[in-house]
Symmetry: C2
Subunit: 184 residues, 2 copies
């Protein structure tokens, strides 16, 4: 164990399952702090997810709008979804892209991993750029109600900077694509 | 209600509190979908938070490294913290910046709002850019173990693009600062 880790490390002591839900699995754990004291950590455990920035040959981004119940608000986001059992992120990205937008892609490039809320949630979202898009047919899950919207990348970046797009994974992934383009 | 909202809207039907914790308040709610069917929504309710990108006159960003229990990993992040009762975001940002890094700032500029995980968590993180930094003394909470690290903005952007910084709010807020600078 390196010194950095040692000086900051929270050692697991015990774990109590509070709720095993459909998506959310909540635990109340006890940890030993670097000063030796005990503390409680409430942790949501999640199976992980993917999110995709689909960019057309013309430089437009394919987005989905849907109602997000925690905010009572419809939000414009990049396509995304949860990993199924045994599914690798690339496979999940192609599936979700196809289900939500009806698009297939010839190229899928990793944009790294995004941790949404590091203090309380262990979810990892694998981010991808999708290019070489071809249209087939959208087929969302039964309980998904989506509307596909398209926007030039630069307009989307402007909307992010103007606080009009509040979904975190969309902010991070789209700005990564834009920053990469700027640095080419 | 506009047509967009109508076509996608999930109507609240009932709400059951599952767990009322220190940070996490978990609810299992029932909603009516646009097709009339009922569905379950697991929602964590959170008091909200702030995160700050502190940039020195020399263009360095002040970061904090801390162990994040859900990942058993020490992560490099921008300073951040939860809103206290009755606290407005700007006030909270100045308090957390001072507590975690020992810095005061003369200028605090909004970088918009960031929703970490829109499907299951109602947390809003208010993002700020802090400039005109002056050093006083750090005074973290009793159960916070932090190490302050400093990095040039461009280096930090490179690390984000190379998947070395995985905290979502740090990715989004730092890339917003960088994109704003590029567009000036």
């Amino acid at each position: 164990m390196d010194q950095t880790k040692d000086a900051l490390y929270e050692q697991p002591v015990s774990s109590e399952e509070i709720y095993h839900g459909k998506i959310v699995h909540l635990y109340k754990d006890t940890v030993r702090l670097p000063n030796g004291k005990l503390a409680t950590r409430e942790v949501m455990r999640h199976t992980g997810a993917v999110a995709i920035v689909p960019v057309t040959d013309e430089g437009n981004v394919i987005l989905v709008r849907q109602d997000r119940y925690p905010f009572s608000e419809s939000l414009l986001e990049i396509p995304a979804g949860k990993l199924e059992a045994g599914e690798v992120p690339e496979e999940c990205a192609r599936r979700e892209l196809s289900e939500e937008t009806g698009m297939d892609c010839t190229e899928l490039v990793s944009l790294g991993v995004y941790y949404p809320s590091v203090a309380i949630l262990d979810e990892r979202i694998y981010l991808f750029l999708a290019r070489g898009l071809t249209q087939s047919e959208a087929h969302p899950d039964d309980d998904e109600f989506l509307r596909v919207e398209t926007m030039p990348l630069k307009t989307l970046v402007d909307q992010i900077l103007q606080d009009e797009i509040r979904d975190g994974k969309t902010q991070a992934a789209v700005l990564k694509v834009w920053a990469q383009n700027q640095m080419k």
